[in-house]
Structures are given as C-alpha cells and as structure tokens.
Symmetry: C2
Subunit: 305 residues, 2 copies
C-alpha cells in the first residue's frame, strides 16, 4: 500500500487569533507558532496584512512574519485583502499570499464592500503583481453556503472559479464552507465537479467550520474527492458558537487525530499539538472548539492517576 | 429520485438518563419522552429493566414503560441484561427488548462479569424465551474498538456475529462504537463485510459516540454502507468528556439536522427536538454534547433579537 499523506495548514494564528478581542502579546503568538512548528506543522497562516484600525489583533503582522520565516521548513502564508497590502506583505518578506473573496454577492459586499466581480478583478491584478517568487492561495468563501442566502447553486461557484483560475492557474484554490452548514455529500460533489471542469488547478484545498458538528466529516468528504490540503485551527480557535455570526474552524487536533487513526500521515505529533492547543484554548477571550483535545487529555489523566 | 429515509432510535431516556447521577423525577422522564414523540421520534430506548440497586436511575422502569406505550405509533424498546429481567420487562408489557454484549473479552468481563461466549449463550436463551410477539435488538458493544485493548480485528467481531445470528436471525443487529474512537473508513468497511457475510440479518443499526468528534461522520459512513437505523441521544446525553471513562452519545439533533440537510427524511421536526434537547441539557448533573443545538439556538437569537 502506498503511503497516504495530507498537508494541514494551521490557520489559527490568523483566523483564530483574529476572532479574539483581547490583544495577544506578540511574543505569545510567536511562541505558539514555534510550538506548532515543533509539533510538526509545516504550513501556517501566520498573520494578515490589513488595516491596523480595522483589525488591531493583526497590528504586529511584520514581526510575526519575520519570526515565523526563521522556522526551518515552515511555509508561512499571510492573508492580504488587496494589492496594496499584498505589496506591503511581500516587502516585509512574505512569499505566500492568501486572498479571499466570496461567491455570494451579499457576503462579499458585507465582507469587503465590493461585488464578487470587482474582487475577482482585484485578484487578477494581485496575481500579476506578486511575481513568480510568491505563491498564491485563493480562498473562495461561501463556496457552498451563504449566511444570508443559504445554499449556493454549484454552477454559481463553478462559474466564478472558471473566471478566477484564468487569472492565476498556478494558485492553490480553497473552497471554503463559511457557515459550517454544508453536508459531506455536497462537499464531495462540488470538489469532484470542480476537479473535472478545472483540470488546470494544480492544488485544491478545503477550509471548513465545525459549527454544526460536521467539521471532520466534511474534511473526510473532501479527502475522498481527492483533496489533500486542509485548513484547520489549533484548539478550534476562530469563532464561537455563542457569539452572533461567528463560527469555529475545525480543530487541527481533531483533523490530525482522525487522519493518523486512519493511517493517513500528517507529519504532526498529536500530543505536542494538543499541548499547544490546550494553551491556545486558555488564551483570554478565546472560544475554543473540537473534541479530541479534551478526550485525549482526559484519557491521559485516567492513565496517570 | 426515490425518497430516502432513516429511522432514529433516541436512546437518551435510557443511555442518557442512566449517565446522570441525580435521580430524574419520573414525571420529567415521561414528559421528555412525550415531547420526543411529539417532535416525531417514533422509536426510543425508554428505560432498562435492571437491578434497582445497581442502577437507581432506572428504578421506575415499569412506570416509564407503561406511560411510553400509550404514545401512538411509538416503538418502545427497553434494555435488559439477562433472561430474568427480560421476562420481567415482558411481564410489564415490553414488546421490544434490547440486549447488549461485548466482543471484547475484557470489556464484557468488566461490564457484566462474564466471557462473551457466556453472554452469547444467555442471548440464545433469551431469544428462545421472548417468543414471537417480542422483537429483539442485539447491541454488539466494542464491535470496532475496546477501551482496554484498542482496535479489534474485524474477524473477531464477525466470528461472534455469526454465532449470535444463528440464535435469532430476526433480531436487528447494532454494531456499537463504544469508545468513539473508530474512524468512518472502518465503520463502512465492517458493515459492508458483515452485510455480505450475514445476509440473513434483516436490519442493521449503528450506535456511535461523539467523544472524538466523529459521531456524525461515522453515522454517515454507516449510511453509505446501507445502514438505515441509527441510535442517538437528545442533547448528546449519555456521558461526559470530563468524566473518567464516560463518553457521549452522538446527539439526536446533530444526526437529524444533518440527514434533513441532505434530503434524507427522519420524520423528526428539528425545532421541536431542539426544544426538548435544550431542557435535557439543563437537567441537574447532565453532561450534554453535540453542536447543532447551540448553533440553531444562536441563529434564532440573532434573528429575533
């Protein structure tokens, strides 16, 4: 049997920390990224280059990027909302840029005050600007479901994808379940169709949320369709089921634990990951998620005493 | 497209309530069973006929059974540990008896102080005793994984199953993931093999736990294999990730919500189910689980307020 493996992108340092109101000391952020790296994580979304005023938690983006880039073998991805901030990130040393836009008109307007077509044009410019030395991750939000309009027709997502892929065929494309409401059958189906219709895309990724308990189920459905890159957030940081509109990312430890149980290699040590996830969950104002962290810690407590 | 449907067995009134230390007033239990029924639940594990001394929470079994049997169209299943208690249950009006034994030697010894072969012999006697008017649900615990010994070889489970099915080919057989540690690939695989090897079994069921966040994922894997009967517990009652050795059942509302999103009919009204699940989660000493309850209640709070 050939070895099966997946790549996990821990988006906790960006998507997770951004959801926390209280400013996390820069040294704490850097320490947690270093511990994720020590646990075997080889790709993180470390920070975002955005307006300090709009997102104060990301005000230390340049410091976080500088510290993360020193960790051997770590692929450091940073989120940028537009060309201007992408240039700033690249100037600060970024070599992997993430860009996000929504398929849903209402969600895109709500998120970045633009129509999806205008965001697609911005993306086309960004793809030209960044140059050959910088990789691009394209995050397609509300690819399945919109918080305002409910389920999206697959054709709507596919039409936008076809347009986007022309701008940058080399980009890795992540289909994002923004609401956590999509079911595994639809995840598998859309990826299978997209892979057939867009054979030029070299790498697909899945970004899911665990709001309705389907986080890992949807990851496995994407895996069945052939996806091998998965976003997840240590401690399930990235939202809170109790906060209006916020929804938690699938927990990295749940995804890693499940794949390792299935014999699919992640390269990540579950015990070391749970140790940093425990501390992430304990950050002031943090709202954590996932099940594996508590289950494993309880099992350890039983065994040791 | 032909209509797709599943049958949900809410085991909360037995498996869930039994995990709660403080005695739940009999009237409260009866009220919750009635509300589950009103929500569209058509099958419950209502109580257990067992030693009052060993399980004080189930001391009101006869009253619970009598009240539940009056609800129109409700299939009321009761758990019995042996022939003696099965006879007592049938004397009290039970028409659907559930029996449990473990594939794992250590787990069966720990649970009922017998070897699996001795429990199988008890089951054979019970199957003969109950007569044609009484249906049997056979629960095969640790069918995939044992809390003491870890993963079981599929052949060990299949060998015991072959022996058990001879005793009562008409019984519905539930494969139970006792620890919550099995992954969807193994759930699907064991059911597919069992269905091929034991074509006489007319109905298969899956009973899973959500300890590691795989509750719904495993339900869907069993569904993919052809299983159409699923145990679940409203509010995810039936254990606690914080309590030594205890693990929570998959929440009925998570299972129902997911199937309904997929267009698979459960006959259960999610809103009415969540209402009783909310009260179940609020029972003194209760340890609840699942994600859908909180996600839906929060979405409602946002819309109304």
């Amino acid at each position: 049997m050939s070895e099966r493996a997946v790549s996990i992108v821990d988006v906790g340092p960006r998507d997770g920390f951004q959801a926390i109101a209280a400013f996390i000391p820069t040294a704490t952020k850097i320490d947690m990224i270093a511990r994720l790296h020590a646990a075997g994580v080889r790709r993180v979304e470390a920070t975002a280059f955005v307006s300090d005023k709009a997102v104060p938690q990301m005000a230390d983006a340049a410091e976080i990027l500088a510290a993360s880039r020193d960790l051997p073998g770590l692929d450091v991805q940073v989120l940028t909302p537009n060309v201007r901030y992408a240039e700033k990130a690249i100037g600060a040393g970024a070599r992997h840029i993430a860009f996000v836009l929504s398929v849903s008109e209402k969600h895109n307007l709500n998120n970045v005050r633009r129509l999806p077509a205008d965001s697609a044009a911005e993306y086309a410019t960004l793809a030209k600007t960044v140059g050959d030395q910088t990789r691009i991750r394209l995050n397609v939000a509300t690819a399945f479901d919109c918080p305002f309009d409910g389920p999206l027709a697959p054709e709507q997502t596919l039409a936008l994808l076809e347009h986007l892929v022309e701008s940058s065929p080399d980009a890795e494309v992540a289909l994002c379940d923004t609401t956590g409401r999509v079911t595994p059958d639809r995840v598998r189906s859309l990826f299978e169709t997209a892979m057939t219709r867009l054979p030029l895309v070299s790498r697909w990724a899945f970004h899911g949320h665990d709001t309705y308990g389907l986080g890992v189920a949807n990851v496995l459905a994407a895996y069945d369709a052939g996806v091998r890159v998965f976003d997840a957030s240590f401690a399930g940081l990235g939202g809170c089921p109790f906060a209006p509109g916020a929804t938690g990312n699938v927990a990295t430890e749940d995804v890693v634990w499940t794949f390792e149980q299935m014999g699919v290699r992640t390269g990540i040590d579950v015990a070391a990951l749970i140790s940093v996830a425990r501390d992430g969950a304990a950050l002031p104002d943090a709202c954590s998620g996932g099940r594996v962290r508590q289950a494993v810690l309880m099992a350890q407590a039983r065994e040791t005493g």
